[in-house]
């Protein structure tokens, strides 16, 4: 298991997970989100190859209502 921080919350995931697996796990849609991995934006083309490591800090954002 890998311990990561996702959107400010500590969670545990399978250690062989890539970003795409994480997206699937939380039932997210790729075209509706953007991801930051350890403070750096991760381009969508790397979602299926980028493995998640222990202590990674991941932020997943979307659009919400705003003025």
């Amino acid at each position: 298991m890998a311990k990561i921080q996702l959107n400010g919350k500590k969670i545990k995931i399978n250690s062989n997970y890539c970003i795409k697996d994480l997206i699937k796990k939380f039932k997210l849609k790729e075209n509706k989100i953007a991801i930051e991995l350890n403070g750096v934006i991760l381009p969508k083309k790397f979602y299926s190859t980028k493995k998640i490591k222990n202590k990674d800090n991941i932020e997943i954002v979307q659009f919400i209502g705003g003025g």
């Binding site: 997210l28 954002v61 705003g66």
Partner: protein
Amino acid sequence: MKKDNLKIDKITLTSRLIVGTGKYKNFKETAEAVKASGAAMVTVAVRRVNILDRNKPVLMDYLNPKKIVYLPNTAGCFNSEDALRTLRLAREMGGWKLVKLEVLGDKKTLYPNMIETLKSTKILVREGFKVMVYCSDDPIIAKKLEELGASAIMPLASPIGSGRGIRNKLNLSIILNNSKVPVIVDAGIGTASDAAIAMELGCDGVLINTAIAKAKNPILMAESMKHAVLAGRKSFLSGRIKAINYGKASSPTEGLI
């Protein structure tokens, strides 16, 4: 009258009213108000996905970004670093290059921090963003933003969400006279007449959120704002009469019995 579209950078909008999507009861109300307003562009904020409750609806399910232009904003950012981070994420989400920059300087007044705003504008333009900038109504700052490459200047009319209307017509007029890019009043509209005044002054558009979302009947107010913007714009284009101090009869005196 031929089509009077608003052009910002290379994007053509069929309405001069831009609406915010915050503060509504729910997404259904948001979508209905946006429809009633006739707006072709909506502002949206970038926030964390709620990973614990994935059944919650998302904005994109109600407002299709393929049908209405999304203008990602940096609401809630108090420094350049946070604003840049937010807009880079927005761009990654789906290629949004036209963005609204808003760097706040003070939680109480929500006045913009223009030092951080100028700094951010410069960087964003360099990175290929098309930046619509929320700013103070200082003509010198507005000109500076244009020189830095802003795609639109968006001065406040009064503090965000205050509903105090157009407080400084003179400054807005000077900004309008100096500006070659669209000038859009971004904050402070409280009711339809405020929007009409902004348009009568010659503003290229208005951006409204709270005045619609927090009205008792947001859908009706959205419609009202739509008409106010159209009325104000047409009034501006038609050229108003000169105001005088004394009466001037409308009926001829000739043939008076």
